[in-house]
């Protein structure tokens, strides 16, 4: 039986004010699966996430060819706030927590688009189970937390939106290896608990390998390879060319 992918990109081309960013991108995320986009800086990984979450417009970009399908529906060019209500939640690169708000308020902000209070309370319990350290920090200003804790707030905030598809943009950025392992463990845990699907952008092979099964390798705006994450990460050429020292 073939199930319809949660997310499918068909020959997507994105342009930022006349400059081609990615071209002919076709990929799919199956229900409950986790997929990683690997590749060097400037390869177009973040652009693909923006095309899925509706944030291209904030950066002057646009999908000019192909389409983005979410649960069988064409959502190419849909507004970010609508996509959130359809179940696509993104964790932004560099976290973007509300520095002046408490951890609790940051999490509450994540449920902005939801009306079902019991479901929201359930999400918060799950987030605090996944990241127990946040339970102790609920009343603290998010801006005063460590980088790792802020990343947990950012992921927790996205989970508060009750996503079916979670987009993560370099959650390992600037974090110590031990913290990266903690976050990877939490992401695995949330997948088994909720069965959500994940599209991850990473340069850390540790995070990619721990969280995802399939990966696509991007370079200069195009997909160069695709396959099992473990196989891609084991490939010497991939390691040396695309992942650099961090591999």
């Amino acid at each position: 039986m073939t199930e319809e992918p949660v997310l499918e990109l068909r020959s997507v081309r994105v342009v930022y004010g006349g400059v081609l960013a990615v071209d002919d991108i076709s990929l799919a995320v199956e229900p409950g699966h986790a997929v990683c986009l690997l590749g060097p800086n400037g390869a177009g990984k973040t652009t693909i996430l923006r095309a899925v979450s509706g944030l291209l417009g904030f950066h002057g970009g646009r999908v000019v060819a192909g389409n983005v399908r979410y649960r069988g529906r064409d959502v190419t060019g849909a507004a970010a706030d609508r996509l959130v209500r359809l179940g696509i939640c993104q964790v932004l690169e560099r976290r973007h927590v509300f520095a002046d708000l408490t951890v609790a308020d940051n999490l509450r902000a994540g449920a902005f688009a939801r009306r079902d209070r019991r479901a929201v309370a359930g999400s918060q319990d799950m987030v605090l189970d996944l990241f127990p350290v946040l339970r102790e920090r609920l009343r603290q200003q998010a801006g005063l937390l460590s980088g790792g804790e802020q990343q947990m707030v950012a992921i927790g905030r996205a989970l508060m939106g009750g996503p079916e598809l979670l987009l993560l943009d370099e959650p390992s950025l600037g974090l110590a290896p031990l913290v990266v392992a903690d976050i990877a463990e939490a992401l695995r845990e949330v997948r088994t608990r909720t069965g959500l699907s994940v599209l991850l952008v990473e340069q850390s092979s540790a995070m990619a390998g721990a969280v995802t099964e399939r990966s696509y390798l991007l370079e200069s705006g195009r997909i160069r390879a695709g396959g099992q994450t473990a196989d891609l990460l084991a490939d010497d050429q991939v390691r040396s060319v695309y992942l650099g020292a961090s591999a």
Binding site: D81, R85, F98, A109, F112, R157
Partner: protein
């Protein structure tokens, strides 16, 4: 208790002071309405606008046109002035939505110059460069220009304007308080603090900015209608960039994104120069106009005002409201320590 005291002072002040100060306080309250509007846009939503004078002017001239030429009651032309400014805010909004920060500030300056050009050339509406008389507020047989007699007591012109503006200010503050506590208010704060994060949380960023823009314009229109009517005569130059900047100063000095900040800011920006003008004539070391080698009282007042403004922002970037919060925290800390000590011993 503080609220009762503020209400008592606000209601009583026009009876305790002379005509100079009654006029000044009427201008303060009118300006506070406009500043409250700008704070919705800049303080709460983080969109810097230097176009507030444009919307004040729209309110003043639309109100004046409907009041004088159409002979409508103020009960109609004041709301109509707000509505007209709101509509123009909605028209100008989409252009402003595409821009952020300084770029938005520069484009909104453009509004002020467009407004100036229109007022200069559309003489049938604005009187052109020669200026135009703006009608007094009238409700039925009440005409604010002649003063109003209620139960045998005669309210002077400035008292009438003061109380009407105070009523509208209270209504505007209640409205803004409700808005900022609503979903829209939280959306505005999210857009201000982290626009991208707001978008990925499901906030409709463009709609949120648009609503803030319209609310801001409506309040500017109402304030402008009262301001113009109270001035009773206006030339296009009255609605220039300096007026916009004064409103920005009001919300910055008062303290942004707070209910009382714009009110306190209006008191500072409108009231302090009036106070300095008043006292500078008595300060002979500052002003020595008879011999011609000193500063005029007006210049001296402006210089002192400028210095105070700079000092103020250096010392307390949170504005007057920031000072209040600081004092409040220290008092709370002292009480907490006193209470804790008593409990412990």
């Amino acid at each position: 208790m503080l609220g009762v005291a503020i209400a008592a002072v606000a209601l009583g002040v026009p009876f305790w002071v002379d005509g100079y100060w009654r006029t000044t306080f009427a201008f303060v309250v009118i300006a506070a309405i406009g500043a409250l509007g700008l704070d919705v846009l800049t303080g709460w939503t983080g969109q810097i606008s230097l176009g507030h004078a444009f919307f004040l002017a729209v309110g003043a001239y639309v109100g004046g046109y409907l009041g004088a030429h159409q002979g409508l009651s103020a009960a109609l032309w004041i709301p109509a002035a707000g509505a007209a400014a709101g509509v123009l805010g909605a028209v100008a909004g989409p252009a402003a939505l595409r821009l952020r920060g300084l770029y938005l500030a520069i484009v909104t300056i453009g509004l002020v110059y467009i407004g100036y050009y229109v007022l200069q050339t559309w003489t049938g509406f604005s009187g052109g460069p020669g200026g135009e008389s703006l009608p007094p507020v009238t409700f039925g047989s009440w005409n604010f220009a002649r003063g109003v007699t209620v139960a045998g007591h005669v309210f002077t012109r400035d008292q009438c304007y003061y109380y009407l503006a105070l009523l509208l200010l209270v209504l505007a503050m209640l409205y803004v308080r409700n808005v900022t506590r609503s979903t829209l208010g939280r959306s505005m704060v999210a857009v201000r603090d982290r626009e991208l994060a707001a978008a990925v949380l499901g906030v409709h960023v463009a709609r949120t900015k648009m609503r803030a823009f319209v609310i801001s314009s409506v309040l500017a229109g109402v304030a402008g209608a009262l301001y113009g009517s109270f001035l009773s005569f206006a030339v296009p130059g009255d609605w220039g960039l300096v007026l916009s900047i004064e409103y920005v100063v009001m919300i910055v000095v008062g303290g942004m994104a707070s209910l009382w900040g714009p009110v306190l800011g209006a008191l500072f920006v409108v009231g302090l120069p009036a106070l300095l003008q008043n006292v500078s004539t008595t300060l002979t070391f500052l002003s020595n106009t008879t011999s011609g080698n000193g500063l005029s009282p007006a210049d001296a007042a402006e210089i002192v005002y400028g210095v105070l403004l700079v000092l103020f922002l250096l010392i307390e970037p949170g504005g007057i409201v920031g000072i209040g919060r600081r004092i409040g925290r220290q008092l709370a800390g002292r009480f907490a320590r006193a209470g804790g000590g008593a409990g412990g011993s």
